[in-house]
């Protein structure tokens, strides 16, 4: 099948059975790859009500048609599972070189099912596929394990590994790869830990068949040329996502002290040029990427290295915690990566704890003696360790802010900044209604990957609640994740503004199937409705109330910064949802109407 490796690997960790099945052509035709494969398989193979950390849950790792190809951004794979963090849909996008190597090993997807009786790792070298004993690796940090395998096997081998976070089933544990890329959010690492799978070692030497080799090479070259000619390439590659720290600070989007404000009075110390000068040594990128966003850094103060921090970690582990030293933020980044927990959820959870401490809800008696004043760097480092090991006070925080605030009460639920149980990522949304809607309706919880609309908010009028804003968010949600579906990264389009039409001939030359962006967005819309239906299937009371934002964003206007005195009204929150559901063809409680399911051809899938 052109454009595909042609096989899905199924690994049953309970029985040890390893089998391959052909990639169904209809699956490739209708769901293309990546998270498209992920949601289809999740609905089909993980039974309703499955315990995310139990034997019935599965992890579906999927590449896509541009993975491993001469196409900018062809370096992403999707990890789909039922989320330990939220009890709903989890889909984490992992960069680096893993997805390319999957394809060279002849695999479109890897399905991990069951639970191993003992710690194991999965070894894949072309057709030699084995589960091997990992008892001497269990407990080790991710960097050490990756280094060990690379030294033993060589740099051609790609490694995905969990740390103590995943082993300890931290609901926001991640999977690490290439010393700095993660399958980050929702707790994919915990699912892997529950299966006692420590790592996946991957190597392959096969080629990928394409429909039209000449047209593929021409289309790929055109895409690379567009990227190289892009006006902002130099700046973007120099700073990566850190380029927006200063701007977010300026417009009130930089989360500060548990999202109590959107500007940080010491934010200057976290800005991109300061970071570049102080710690960055290499621009490090994913497979096939002409605009490397990764900033590999050296922290002299701590004698350590890390890939990062990127914008999200600067926000959540920096300004959100009142920390203004970029080297310390980088060190916090490293600790999270090495231990295998998501920096976003960790930073957000610690920010919540710090506000509790500030308000006297926690005292040193509760916090194992840690002084959780905003800005206390050493306390943050200690807490990250405790969270990963679920020890002492870290155990409470390791549950995520929704569960932790429910346990603690005392009004702390009001400033638990999450949607659907996923901690909000690093954009403060006190007064940016399109972005707020994006967070409310994102299909994994409060994450910015599906739709990002802050400039649009500023252009149209940040407090306005108008149908065109809603239409914009919906379009972005149908469109942006298609990059995940085709096995690639959206940032070349997102950041360099290259003409997305250039992808069309590339996809057609690779797969042999012509798809316009209209066609692709239709697939995106279908996937969107399926992920919504998954949430509804798994949660009895699923509906509108699950889409509500953190109360902070309609009750608690910042008292400083660019958005001082600005807050969204609860009436507008509900109006946003009313408009959104209507435009999506959903009921007033936010469920896809039968006629919508029918018109999208999804009746058979959800039967």
């Amino acid at each position: 099948m052109n454009g595909y490796a042609g096989r899905i690997l199924r690994v049953n960790l309970t029985t040890g059975a390893i089998t391959k099945e052909p990639t169904p052509p209809e699956l490739a035709r209708d769901f293309i790859g990546g998270r498209g494969f992920g949601i289809y398989l999740l609905l089909k193979e993980v039974p309703k009500g499955a315990d995310p950390l139990g034997p019935q849950n599965k992890i579906f790792i999927s590449s896509g048609p541009i993975s491993g190809m001469m196409i900018p951004g062809g370096g992403k794979c999707d990890w789909t599972t039922k989320a330990p963090l939220t009890g709903g849909y989890a889909s984490a996008s992992m960069g680096g070189h893993f997805t390319a190597e999957m394809r060279y090993a002849g695999l479109d997807s890897i399905i991990l099912e069951g639970i191993s009786p003992k710690p194991v790792y999965l070894f894949i070298d072309n057709d030699k596929i084995e589960l091997r004993d990992a008892s001497d690796l269990w407990g080790k940090n991710t960097f050490m394990v990756e280094k060990q395998f690379k030294e033993k096997l060589g740099e051609e081998y790609q490694i995905a590994v969990i740390g103590p976070g995943g082993e300890n089933l931290v609901p926001y544990a991640c999977v690490n790869h290439d010393y700095g890329r993660q399958a980050g959010r929702g707790g994919v690492g915990a699912v892997m830990g529950s299966k006692k799978l420590k790592a996946i070692i991957l190597h392959g030497t096969k080629s990928i068949p394409v429909a039209d080799m000449t047209a593929y090479r021409k289309a790929g070259m055109a895409l690379y040329k567009a990227c190289k000619d892009a006006e902002g390439l130099k700046d973007w590659s120099r700073y990566g996502t850190t380029i927006v720290v200063s701007w977010c600070d300026e417009v009130g989007a930089l989360p500060t002290r548990n999202f109590s404000a959107g500007s940080f009075e010491n934010g200057k110390n976290l800005y991109a040029p300061v970071m570049r000068e102080k710690i960055v040594i290499t621009d490090k990128g994913c497979f096939g990427c002409p605009s490397p966003c990764g900033k590999y850094s050296r922290m002299k103060k701590y004698n350590s290295n890390v890939e990062g921090p990127e914008y999200e970690t600067i926000g959540l582990c920096g300004s959100n915690l009142g920390i203004d030293d970029i080297e310390s933020v980088a060190q916090a980044n490293l600790l999270c990566d090495d231990l295998g927990i998501d920096t976003i959820s960790a930073g957000n959870s610690i920010g919540w704890a710090m506000e509790c401490y500030q308000k006297g809800i926690f005292t040193k008696k509760d916090t194992d003696g840690l002084d959780l004043t905003f800005g206390n760097v050493e306390a943050v480092f200690t807490l990250i360790e405790k969270i990963a090991r679920r020890e002492g006070f870290g155990a409470l925080l390791s549950e995520g802010v929704k569960r932790a605030s429910k346990k603690v009460g005392q009004g702390s639920e009001k400033f638990a900044i999450h949607v659907k149980g996923m901690e909000q990522s690093a954009y403060a949304t006190h007064n940016a209604t399109a972005m707020l809607l994006a967070y409310m309706t994102c299909d994994v919880g409060a994450h910015h990957n599906r739709a990002w609309a802050i400039t649009y908010d500023l252009q149209v009028g940040r407090e306005l609640v108008v149908p065109e804003k809603v239409a914009r968010v919906i379009w972005l949600q149908n469109f942006r994740p298609m990059f995940d579906v085709i096995g690639g990264c959206r940032l070349q389009w997102v950041e360099l503004s290259i003409d997305r039409e250039l992808y069309v001939p590339a996809l057609e030359a690779i797969t042999g199937i012509h798809r316009s962006w209209e066609d692709l967005e239709k697939v995106g819309e279908r996937i969107w409705n399926l992920t919504r239906l998954y949430w509804a299937r798994e949660n009895e009371d699923f509906g509108r109330v699950w889409d509500l934002p953190a109360p902070r964003f309609y009750e608690d206007a910042p008292t400083s910064g660019a958005t001082k005195g600005q807050i969204t009204k609860i009436e507008d929150v509900n109006l946003l949802l009313d408009m959104y559901y209507e435009q999506r063809g959903w009921t007033t409680d936010g469920l896809p109407k039968p006629e919508t399911i029918e018109s999208l051809g999804l009746k058979a899938v959800v039967a």
Partner: protein
Amino acid sequence: MRLYVDSTKCSGCNACRVACSLNLFSENNPKKSALIIEPHFPAPGFYTVKVCTQCGDCAKVCPTDAIKQDAQGAYYVDFDECNLCEACVPECPEGVMFVRAELANTAWKCNLCGDCVSVCGTSALWIAEIETVTA
């Protein structure tokens, strides 16, 4: 003319190696490429890239004259003439003379096609006149 690289600009993306394999073999398989990217992580934290300098040492020792020069003077392997004897491999000062029998029944090397330069987003690679060192 030869290929040059500034390793400090390499991001490890491997687009060059995919482009190379497509040019040499019409296959999408970067392991069949003629340049090497060595990652040095987690420390010290950078990549070093090895490229063919067109020194011709490989051609000097090839017993079947399989390594030829094209009209531009670039050395390349004539796949039909190579007998996999591997005499060329240790001669290459950069280690970019490749024999991997499990991947191809011929040795291969850079033929200066320039596709790697076209896809390098950080401009780490470029083609220029061979600089001669004067004593």
